[in-house]
């Protein structure tokens, strides 16, 4: 469950966003420059909003009025960046284990499960620089998951991948959702990714929420207007 209200003035954008969602996968959908990644950064703590309140699973991460700003390292979010950001001096195994926390009360995921799910075994000894774009994103997703996050934050994880790699990573993300059920916020400007992964969509435009609707309504509206095909 996430509850977010934030205001932040950038030089070229006034971000004023508020939403509340209680689903497994929430998509933030909008064009480039709509403020999607900034919202994700605010949830992770990488951006401190000028005002607002962010609550994740009843835990207040940020509240400007109450003076609460939980440190990034303490927020327990698994951030998958657009460019993967694997540590170049560590092999895949060390990257995966970098933020790994042991499971408590049987919740969360363990190393073997993540490695099996994302089919990372053949990659474990490889250097990040030797991985393809799709492989790199799979490792980044695995690394984020092993930190036992309360929320998985995916920032356009398929951008920059060629068609086959994109389809492949999308399949992995579907499996992840089905088998692990970690609360996920997906930032994307591709409607087919929303259709494939999200339960609910927050539409962002020009730094504001333009609407919030369930996945099926989004797909229906998009299909009707011819903006989404082959879902």
């Amino acid at each position: 469950m996430i509850e977010l209200a934030m205001r932040h003035a950038f030089t070229d954008l006034m971000l004023d966003v508020g939403f509340r969602a209680d689903v497994r996968t929430l998509a933030l959908f909008g064009d480039s420059g709509a403020g999607k990644t900034s919202v994700l950064n605010a949830i992770a703590g990488l951006l401190t909003p000028q005002a607002g309140r962010i609550v994740l699973d009843e835990r207040v991460l940020f509240d400007s009025a109450a003076g609460i700003d939980v440190a990034v390292a303490e927020r327990r979010v698994g951030y998958v960046f657009q460019d993967g950001r694997l540590f170049p001096h560590l092999d895949v195994r060390a990257n995966l284990l970098y933020g790994a926390r042991s499971r408590s009360n049987g919740a969360g995921v363990d190393f073997d499960a993540v490695v099996a799910l994302l089919e990372l075994v053949p990659l474990l000894a490889r250097a990040p620089s030797s991985l393809s774009g799709g492989e790199r994103q799979r490792v980044a997703i695995g690394r984020a998951l092993l930190a036992q996050p309360r929320a998985l934050l995916l920032d356009e994880p398929l951008t920059g991948l060629h068609f086959e790699a994109r389809r492949q990573v999308l399949d992995y993300l579907r499996r992840l959702k089905r088998e692990l059920g970690v609360f996920t916020v997906l930032v994307t400007h591709h409607a087919d990714e929303v259709a494939a992964l999200a339960d609910e969509v927050v539409l962002l435009a020009g730094g504001q929420v333009a609407g919030q609707l369930p996945r099926d309504e989004f797909v229906a509206a998009r299909t009707a207007t011819g903006l989404l095909q082959a879902v």
């Binding site: 440190a71 990034v72 390292a73 951030y79 170049p88 926390r101 250097a127 984020a144």
Partner: protein, 234 residues
């Protein structure tokens, strides 16, 4: 080579190597801290700190040596205070280490700072989201990714320390077996009738050490520690 160099030559060489290495080893932790502060933090008085740190690079070395004497000499307040605990630097080889460390410090900090600056900050942010606090981010991301620059800085600082003359002779003078480093021995032989063969010998040794230092820097930068570069090529 034992016969080629006199016992005094060996003494001077050994002292210079010891002073050079110790000055780098002792100043490295402080240089890492300074470089990190200058690379990552904005604080009041930062420009002043930076200017003070670079002073030994700009000042005539003799002035730096005199400043050390004024600060740590037997009659100086700090020197007197340390003397009460049996710690004496003036006219001791340990003072030569201090002089060499001060002279090499700006080069060390400068190299490390450039290395820290070139580390992708987004990787540090990624580590932070994975639960790594400041110290762990520094030790596991910033430091390993800066190793080449740190190694280069160490070699530069060692070379500077090995060749140090002006600050050393002002602060700890020229005491055979105690503070007569290789450059000071060369200087003295230059002023002694018939000293030229000795000057030639020690100068050759200095050239040899310089080449060895430069070669080791190249080896470190391209060698075993960074074998991963072969993966980069794939």
């Amino acid at each position: 080579m034992t016969g080629w160099l006199s016992p005094q030559d060996w003494q001077a060489l050994a002292l210079s190597l010891r002073v050079g290495l110790l000055s780098v080893v002792l100043s490295l932790p402080i240089a890492l801290g300074f470089a990190w502060l200058l690379s990552r933090k904005r604080f009041p008085g930062r420009i002043l700190v930076e200017a003070l740190m670079f002073l030994p690079l700009i000042l005539p070395p003799v002035v730096t040596g005199y400043a050390l004497l004024a600060l740590l000499g037997r009659n100086a307040p700090l020197g007197q205070f340390l003397g009460e605990f049996g710690i004496v630097f003036a006219f001791r080889w340990t003072g030569a280490v201090i002089a060499a460390a001060v002279m090499g410090f700006p080069l060390l900090v400068l190299s490390i700072r450039v290395a820290f600056d070139s580390v992708d900050r987004r990787l540090e942010a990624a580590a932070e989201t994975l639960g790594a606090h400041a110290w762990r981010r520094f030790a596991t991301i910033t430091l390993p990714l800066s190793l080449r620059g740190i190694a280069a800085g160490c070699v530069l600082a060692f070379a500077r320390a090995f060749g140090e003359f002006g600050a050393t002779i002002s602060f700890v003078s020229n005491i055979p077996g105690e503070t007569r480093t290789l450059p000071i021995a060369i200087y003295e032989l230059l002023n002694v009738p018939g000293g030229m063969p000795g000057v030639n010998r020690l100068s050759l040794v200095a050239v040899f050490v310089a080449i060895a230092a430069a070669a080791s820097a190249t080896l470190i930068a391209g060698g075993a520690l960074w074998r991963r570069s072969s993966d980069d090529a794939r």
